[in-house]
Amino acid sequence: MRFADYIRIAMSNLWKRKLRTILTIFAVVIGATLIALMVSLGVGLQDYVTGQLTALSVPDVISVEPKLGESLASVVLGSTGFGPPQEVEEGQAYAYLNIGTLTGQDVERIQAVENVAAVEPVVLIMPRWVQLEGSEKKYQVQLLASPPYEIRQRKLEAGRPFEADERGVAVVAYDFLEAWNLDSPEEALGRTISIRVPLGFQINLFSSKEPEGQDYSFTIVGVFQDSLLSTEVSVPMEDGIEMARYFNQDDEAYTDKDMGLALSVHVDDPAQVDAVARAIEDLGDYTAETAEESAGSLAGGFRAIQAVLSIFGLIALAVASLSIINTLIMAIYERTQEIGVMKAVGATKGTIRLLFTVEAGSIGFWGGLTGVLVAWVIGQVINLVSHLTFLRDYKSFNISAFPLWLILAVIVLCTGVALVAGLLPASRAANLDPVEALRHE
């Protein structure tokens, strides 16, 4: 028997019992839809976040933090009043969280690691706002002090990164253009912004009194490409440190005495990034994470969420496979005589087995295909609704995404499950005694 005939006969047999076939396929559709939708939501999120992360991070930079002496749980519990009392030393920074800071000694130790080109502190500043000169409007801002090796590798829409010895210049996020009523990124270049840095860490949740602060002026030299970090302004290290010292009221901030909470380590050979990270961890006092690792751990998290959500789909698919077995066994009873005739006119056991296997596979195939379609439609609705509501400002972010591999994987999975479900009925049909089958009414 030719394969085209298997398909034709299987389809015609399935079509003969429309309602039952459709109900069976529907069971597969539920499983396929669940799996496809769950994975598509995960893929959408993962695509977006990892895409953004790769756009923001630079591959040859390692983020180094001090290893926590205490377990994180006890530190957090202690700081919130629940854990064991945590000892605090006088003059210790960030006493509230009781996390040790890094010093010039740490910088020297890390600098000594092979292939390390530069070590810079990660400067934390919390400005009040950013304001374009000539505009009254003030906007929240995420201020970063970027070392030259980082800013050089960032993707810019317009302008240029700043050089190592430059001061008073800034690269701003793409999203500010709209806020500032600028028609093109080029228009932003050369304009002046001022950034208000408050005196000390302010949480004026209930106070409407503007805290004391100081304005710092910068000339825009570049505009970042559109990204997740939509309120970023990057300034040279020296400017950042100056603002941080004012913010902390501490002239020794970011000196050898106190290098803050984290360090940015530049590796001279991108191929050695992993080796350098491990070498830094081998020093014993630090945790080191490469850009790839931080993207990877995020991706791992998404995969775990996808897996958990997909389990419901797999359970539905398992139930659907029972339904397929049931449908095919019913079909054998109905078509016993037909099977007898087929054998009488020349069908082998293998022919009958393959015929039922193809019928089972078809149920899975159509169920999988329909499921993917249904999931795609639901995904599009989710994307549409989210773009109209809570993701109004993130039009490029689709929660649900359907890459080709996902479509194919779901169809292959459903067809495969159905084929396995078809094994038992198919061999039962194949092994029917033709004489008995012909006598069957």
């Binding site: 030719r2 006119v345 020349g346 069908a347």
Partner: protein, 228 residues
């Protein structure tokens, strides 16, 4: 040439052993029209099933064209049935959802014949049984005699050497029965097909060249008709 040597076929019905065929020796030459007669339960159907490779004997040898069917496997038997045998049944055994043409073409599907050729050959076979005008009809739209003609066309379509007809007139009235048996006789005469007709109707059996009487699984009489 069909040769049965000491062929027995026993079934188990609960605890009881049933001897459907009991040490049967038989030879049917090519081109003969043979009637197997006997009451129901005499083993007519079993004999046809074994000759047609649909059933295998418990003991003995079945030689068709010199090939021993009792030793053949599933694939060999299926190919044998497809190429050499055409079965005709009492209950027609047509697929109710298929048209006459599709029913007749079914054996050619298993012979891996291409659709276009299947159609042409099925049309020819239906023409040979006088149903050229009924190609698109489904069994439900045909009379009993027409249905059996479709079944005969299905048996003919692979141009087999043997047609094995098991009570083909059992569900038909006398006139139609006579037409069907006459048709079988005509195929035998014109195309030289060996026809084995199982029947309990002696009037139909009278049309055959040779009559084999079965009783309780054994041949007790064999008579050649020299007349017509």
């Amino acid at each position: 040439m069909i040769e049965l040597k000491q062929v027995s076929r026993t079934y188990k019905m609960g605890e009881q052993l049933i001897h459907a065929l009991d040490h049967v020796d038989l030879a049917i030459a090519d081109g003969e029209f043979v009637a197997v007669v006997g009451p129901s339960g005499s083993g007519k159907s079993t004999l046809l099933h074994i000759v047609g490779g649909l059933d295998t004997p418990t003991n003995g040898q079945v030689l068709v064209d010199g090939k021993d069917l009792s030793q053949a496997g599933d694939r060999a038997l299926a190919h044998f049935r497809n190429e050499r045998i055409g079965f005709v049944f009492q209950t027609f055994n047509l697929q109710p959802t298929y048209t006459a043409l599709e029913n007749v073409a079914l054996p050619l599907v298993f012979a891996r014949v291409l659709p276009k050729e299947r159609r042409a050959r099925a049309e020819r076979a239906l023409g040979a049984v006088g149903l050229a005008a009924r190609l698109r009809h489904k069994p439900g739209q045909l009379s009993g005699g027409e249905r059996q003609r479709v079944a005969i066309a299905r048996a003919l379509v692979t141009e087999p050497a043997y047609i094995l007809a098991d009570e083909p007139t059992g569900n038909l009235d006398t006139t139609t029965s006579r037409e069907i048996v006459t048709l079988l006789d005509q195929l035998h005469q014109e195309q030289g097909i060996t026809v084995v007709l199982a029947t309990h109707d002696l009037e139909m059996a009278a049309l055959a060249d040779l009559q084999i009487n079965l009783r309780d699984g054994s041949i007790f009489a064999q008579a050649a008709w020299s007349g017509d």
